[in-house]
């Protein structure tokens, strides 16, 4: 395991995985099965004999490849949970006060609820990266800092085709990037708000 590797997009000090007791895992959450980061799609328990202790049966889907993995372990055991990140670099925090959300009047926006909620996020920079080019099967993505990333592959399959087609038509699209353990991939697209 390459736990201690420091990737350019990772945060120094954050490990690739952390342990969690089986019982605290949840469906739709994440877990490492057979060395792969997986989303848990099924979770069930069983026991050997009426007075036996519980065992957890996990079925997960690899978040990058979509392959299915299964595992079974005593429910007192700790499992590795991958640190999942979406969109390599998030934007910098800004905090302008907000009176409207997307044109619709928001009556409770003023005065701000106590504690001074940071409504800034609602206005903050897009959390997805803007696509500005495709070259030799790699995506060019505009980061918040103004830098351009060019190390991410155009995904295979329908999503890749969709990206290419939209890009060719001149549509402005945002790409969501998922990273976990040692991998990164584009997993979703969305049209940019006008």
């Amino acid at each position: 395991m390459a736990d201690d590797l420091d990737f350019e997009t990772g945060d120094a000090g954050a490990s690739a995985t952390f342990p969690m007791q089986c019982s605290a895992l949840r469906k739709n959450g994440f877990v490492v099965l057979k060395g792969r980061p997986c989303k848990i799609v099924e979770m069930s328990t069983s026991k050997t004999g009426k007075h036996g202790h519980a065992k957890v049966h996990l079925v997960g889907i690899d978040i990058f490849t979509g392959k299915k993995y299964e595992d079974i372990c005593p429910s007192t055991h700790n499992m590795d949970v991958p640190n999942i990140k979406r969109n390599g670099l998030p934007g910098k925090g800004r905090c302008p006060r907000l009176t409207k959300i997307w044109g619709a009047p928001v009556s409770f926006a003023e005065p701000l609820p106590r504690g001074g909620v940071c409504w800034a996020w609602l206005r903050g920079p897009p959390l997805a990266l803007q696509l500005i080019g495709i070259q030799d099967g790699y995506l060019s993505l505009l980061q918040d800092s103004g830098d351009v990333r060019e190390d991410l592959r155009l995904p295979e399959g329908d999503l890749g085709k969709e990206i290419e087609q939209k890009y060719d038509c001149g549509e402005e699209i945002l790409i969501t990037v998922l990273s976990a353990m040692t991998e990164e991939a584009a997993v979703a697209i969305k049209a940019m708000a006008k």
Binding site: N28, G49, G52, A54, I101, F108, G115, L159
Partner: protein, 1124 residues
């Protein structure tokens, strides 16, 4: 080989052949000449369908001759394939049935013909006669067996009523004659006995007839018909037939004769069970009922006593007993001769015990077919019925029987030497340790009916059963303690030596498991929604002995679960009920000590579950007994767990300690953790108990520990954490002084808020929001919020709503931050769903407004983030499905405000709310419509393939149309269009349930149009389109008859609205008819349809008249137009 295309082509030929007009001559020709069975079958089907379709057009004499032809045809060809013969007979039966309401045609002669066939003495002919009768019976039964001939339920009902008064009785008499004949014969050859069997089955069919009461509305007929387990309740006309003792005797004789034949025995016992359920107007007076019952029981005892029961008889015999006990009133039961009644109860006792033993054996042998278990269930249920109403029997009448049944139940569930569990004829069965999945129900649920009966019998014989359970439990505790000690020493002597034989432990656990379950069911009832009371038998038992009891010793036994009961001086002068409770506390104490000694891996989580399950059940009923609820209260109970006693304070402390220990040790056992936290909820959900709980230091520690989110509590699964939060909030409403209360909320709720604000208000929250630690913190907060919402009650909603509202506004911000994290988004929506679900009904106008607005913004953010979004991963669709399902639920919850509203203009909030802006007026409908507008573009036809989402969606839009039809025309154009499109889609290509919902939505929409009188609105235009759809549905398409009412109502309202268009539709349909006869029939039918309501108006009376005519219309021409 025939390929697929050819097959389809062939099918098509047959189908269109069956629809051809007047195919009678052709069919006759085919029947007489063809040698191909399948073609014969199709010809018979074509005749059957055509006769019904063209009934009115046919000459009565030609129908009669057709029927004769078919019957003769079958008689002359004894070698026809069975399925061809049955189909031809079915056609005959359908003709007879269709004719039975038509006075112009007489089909009665068929019975004369059949009785001649029977008296022929020829087995083949007799079999044929039986087939004819069976076909008639199924056809007239108007159940699912009836052929689909496109007539109304009313028609079927009327046919059935006429049939059950006359023809059915005639069939029964014919059958009885045949059975009598056979039962007299000594030796039956195979052919004879097969005929015998058929007539026996026929008799069973007659006796199981679901007699339709007169004047049952057509809506109820369908409901009535679907009821299982029909009891025999014939009309008065059957009196002479069924009260004839010889009939009953005949069936006992028949059963004795054939009881070794598995198949026939089932029919004969079923006949007896039906006779045992005889009731209703057939009995002229109570005396006749007593006579009948006495004779029946005599016959029954003669049949059952002294024989060895066959496996195949068990179920039937128990049905006979069960029906007698259920159907005959107590005063009739006690009116039969005493001795006879005693023998009856003795026989019941004997059979119950014996079936119980056989059932246990079945379990050991792992049989697939558990006939004895089923029979045992049925008898135990009968016991419950029998003893529940004990006014008619002298006190203690059933005690000895109860002791026997109770003892045998215990014996079957304990290991040797006390019991016979897992014992077979060859000694103890070594059962393999099998894998048990979480889907397998717990014994306490799977066997709840059995346990309830056994518990009840245990109360009746409390003098015997309570001390028995106590001594068995105390013995097992001592052995368990010893066994665990031995294991510990072994471990100390050779650590890591691993393999320990757990057989002894497992046997002890299983014994204790069953003893706890039985004790739980004996001492307390299952209660849902009502105040649980101490069973009167248990209370009386304790009171009766309270003079011999030493209260102090009793308290000592209760308060020292760590010591052996028998080591306490004077232990035999204690209250038995309290001693039984303390025996279970001793089990609990052994468990706790084993945990402290690091032996958790040797313990049984199942036993742990049983213990907390019992304690919860017990606490609900006994802890802090409310004297006001009882006439008389036992002094030991009142001293040990009454209000303001040291005992109750001690036991609350003990239970709390147990809960805390379990949550720490058993976090990995979800079910056990769940039962544990439920016990905690029980302790705090009533104010009186909560008052004691919050006085415990431990409670405060638990609250602080949970607020810190440190191990071990954060290992608990999310549902357990939610419930724990709920309990902590409920506890906060106990009685405390202001300072303490302040302090409590500071410990419990404020940390939640503080931690949350600390996280989200960090400068760099956006950078770190995806870090696992942060995400976990957020998730835990959201889970806790759901738990808080769950704790809502009318007296705390004001505080909780204000508290939660602060979070909700923040959650909307989170929606944005976590827009790419579907699992978090889902949880955020769930928080809103929970809050709306639990609180909206209590909120006054301005508070409701706040919630509406928050929900609206949530939906706006969601929709903004998800429109035009595509994701690669395979779970994307399911994530979205879950989101949308939750959103629909949220909208439905909000809408419920319009019909369930407990708010009294903010009364619960009075004093909480200085100067409010009351000038805004948004209704739930506005919010919901707006919400629908937002999510509608996200719904796709693919997503509608998820049945639960689809149903929830259509329920929502039907609700909206029904509650706020006036809002629909004002909708934005896009939304309006998609709503109308949804309705159209729902009517044309969804399930019948959805179609029904859409039809229900149309009526209020059309009424709205009529009210508004705007002939150019888009709703007006849309309804015109729907008129055409509903018209086609009713007139041209084969549709579900259940839908006629909803479709008819919508149809009528639409006709009122668009009279000209309706006339046009009718004209078009008529002009397309070439056949003048059909044209005239249709034209007449349409005239008749609207005759009672010209001009149509939205008047209720007219509407009802129209609906009635519509039924006739459907019966007359409904099938006609399907010919095409």
């Amino acid at each position: 080989m025939v390929n697929n295309e050819q097959r389809q082509h062939a099918e098509h030929i047959f189908l269109s052949f069956r629809k051809s007009k007047s195919p009678f001559a052709v069919c006759k020709h085919i029947l007489e000449t063809s040698k191909v069975d399948y073609v014969l079958f199709q010809a018979a089907t074509a005749i059957m369908e055509a006769v019904v379709r063209e009934w009115i057009l046919l000459e009565k004499s030609s129908i009669e001759s057709l029927r004769t032809f078919l019957l003769t045809y079958v008689l002359q060809r004894p070698n026809l394939q069975k399925y061809v013969r049955e189909q031809i007979l079915l056609a005959v039966a359908v003709i007879v049935k269709r004719g039975s309401l038509d006075k112009s045609i007489d089909c009665k002669s068929i019975f004369h013909e059949v009785s001649q066939l029977i008296s022929s003495g020829n087995p083949t002919v007799q079999t044929l006669a039986c087939s004819i009768l069976t076909a008639l019976l199924s056809e007239f039964s108007s159940s699912s067996k009836t052929s689909n001939i496109g007539l109304s339920m009313e028609f079927h009902g009327n046919c059935k009523r006429i049939f059950q008064e006359g023809d059915l009785r005639q069939i029964f008499m014919l059958t009885v004659e045949v059975l009598q004949e056979f039962s007299r014969r000594e030796n039956l050859n195979a052919q004879m006995s097969s005929v015998f069997q058929r007539y026996l089955a026929l008799a069973n069919q007659v006796l199981s007839w679901n007699f339709l009461p007169p004047n049952l509305g057509r809506h109820y007929i369908a409901m009535f018909e679907s009821s299982q387990n029909v009891m025999l309740k014939p009309t008065e006309l059957w009196r002479e037939t069924l009260l004839d003792i010889r009939v009953m005797e005949l069936f006992f004789t028949v059963h004795r004769k054939i009881r070794e034949d598995t198949d026939m025995a089932q029919d004969s016992l079923q006949c007896l069970a039906q006779l045992a359920s005889l009731h209703g107007p057939v009995f002229p007076d109570e005396g006749s009922q007593v006579d009948y019952l006495a004779h029946f029981i005599e016959g029954l005892l003669n049949t059952v006593n002294g024989i060895e029961i066959e496996d195949s008889e068990a179920m039937g015999i128990s049905s006979v007993f069960s029906n007698l006990i259920t159907v005959f009133p107590r005063n009739v039961l006690t009116a039969i001769p005493n001795e006879l009644f005693s023998s009856f109860v003795n026989c019941l006792t004997h059979l119950t015990c014996s079936f119980g033993r056989s059932a246990a054996l079945e379990e050991v042998l792992d049989k697939d077919d558990m006939v004895y278990m089923e029979a045992y269930d049925k008898l135990l249920e009968s016991w419950l019925t029998l003893v529940q109403d004990d006014k008619h029997f002298h006190k203690g009448f059933f005690t000895q029987h109860a002791v026997q049944v109770f003892n045998s139940y215990i014996q079957c569930h304990l290991a040797a030497p006390d019991g016979t569990r897992n014992l077979t004829a060859n000694g103890v069965a070594s059962r393999e340790e099998e894998e048990i999945s979480e889907l397998q129900e717990d014994d306490r649920d799977q066997f709840s009916d059995q346990l309830a009966s056994v518990g009840m019998l245990g109360r009746i014989a409390a003098e015997h059963c309570i001390p028995l359970l106590t001594s068995l439990l105390e013995d097992r505790v001592t052995r368990l303690h010893g066994q665990l000690q031995r294991h510990q020493q072994q471990l100390l002597a050779s650590p890591g030596s691993g393999s320990i034989d757990n057989k002894v432990l497992d046997d002890l656990y299983e014994d204790i498991h069953w003893l706890i379950l039985v004790t739980g069911y004996l001492l307390a009832n299952d209660t849902q929604g009502e105040t649980p009371l101490i069973p009167p038998e248990v209370m009386e038992y304790s009171i009766k002995h309270s003079t011999e009891v030493d209260i102090n010793t009793t308290l000592q036994i209760l308060g020292s679960p760590g010591e052996k009961a028998s080591s306490i001086p004077g232990y035999n002068r204690t209250d038995s009920v309290i001693r039984l409770l303390s025996a279970i506390l001793r089990v609990s104490e052994v468990e706790s000590r084993a945990i402290r000694a690091d032996l958790t891996h040797l313990l049984s989580p199942q036993m742990g579950k049983d213990i907390v399950w019992f304690l919860k059940r017990w606490a609900k009923t006994y802890l802090l007994v409310d004297e006001k609820l009882y006439d008389q209260i036992s002094l030991p109970f009142n001293t040990a767990f009454g209000a303001d006693t040291e005992g109750s304070q001690w036991i609350v402390g003990y239970l709390l300690e147990k809960v805390i220990s379990n949550l720490a040790v058993w976090s990995s056992e979800q079910d056990l953790a769940n039962d544990t936290v439920q016990l905690l909820v029980t302790l705090v959900e009533r104010r009186e108990r909560a008052n004691l709980v919050i006085q415990c230091e431990n409670w405060w520690n638990l609250a602080k520990q949970f607020a810190r989110r440190s191990p071990p509590l954060h290992f608990l699964s999310s549902s357990v954490q939610r419930t724990l939060m709920k309990a902590l909030v409920l506890g906060g409403f106990a009685h405390m002084d202001t300072d303490t209360k302040q302090q409590y909320w500071t410990e419990v709720l404020q940390p939640l808020q503080q931690r949350f604000l600390n996280v989200i208000n960090q400068e760099n929250f956006q950078q770190i929001c995806q870090e696992e630690e942060v995400k976990q913190e957020i998730t835990a907060t959201l889970e806790a919020l759901c738990g808080i919402a769950e704790a809502t009650q009318i007296d705390n909603v004001a505080i909780l709503f204000n508290f939660l509202m602060d979070f909700l506004t923040n959650c909307i911000g989170l929606m944005e931050v976590y827009k790419n994290t579907p699992e978090t988004v889902n949880l955020i929506i769930e928080v809103f769903v929970e809050v709306a679900h639990k609180q909206i009904c209590y909120l006054g106008e301005s508070k409701a407004m706040n919630l509406y607005e928050a929900c609206l913004t949530l939906l706006q953010v969601y929709s903004k983030n998800n429109l035009g979004r595509q994701r690669i991963d395979v779970t994307a669709e399911e994530d979205q499905y879950q989101d949308l399902l939750l959103i629909m639920e949220l909208l439905t919850n909000l809408l419920s405000k319009e019909f369930i509203d407990f708010s009294d203009t903010d009364e619960v909030f009075r004093g909480h709310e200085p100067g409010q802006a009351a000038n805004r007026s948004v209704s739930a409908a506005d919010v919901v419509l707006y919400g629908v507008n937002l999510v509608l573009p996200l719904m796709s036809q693919d997503l509608l393939k998820f049945p639960s989402l689809c149903n929830q969606y259509y329920k929502l839009i039907t609700f909206i149309c029904e509650i706020f039809p006036e809002k629909i025309p004002q909708l934005p154009e896009d939304l309006f269009k998609s709503l109308m499109y949804s309705l159209e889609l729902g009517m044309s290509s969804m399930s019948s349930e959805v179609c029904q919902l859409c039809l229900e939505a149309l009526t209020p929409l059309a009424e709205q149009c009529a009210k508004a009188q705007e002939t150019d609105s888009s709703l007006f235009l849309a309804t015109r389109h729907f008129l055409k759809m509903v018209f086609d549905m009713l007139v041209l398409q084969k549709h579900n008859t259940e839908m006629t009412t909803a479709a008819g109502e919508a149809f009528y309202t639409l006709v009122c609205l668009h009279q000209a268009e309706y006339s046009e539709l009718v004209e078009t349909l008529l002009s397309s008819q070439q056949d003048p006869v059909i044209y005239q029939r249709l034209a007449d039918a349409f005239n008749k349809l609207t005759a009672s309501s010209t001009p149509p108006s939205l008047d209720r009376k007219q509407k009802m008249a129209f609906l009635k005519s519509l039924e006739e219309f459907m019966a007359n021409v409904g099938g006609l137009l399907c010919v095409k």
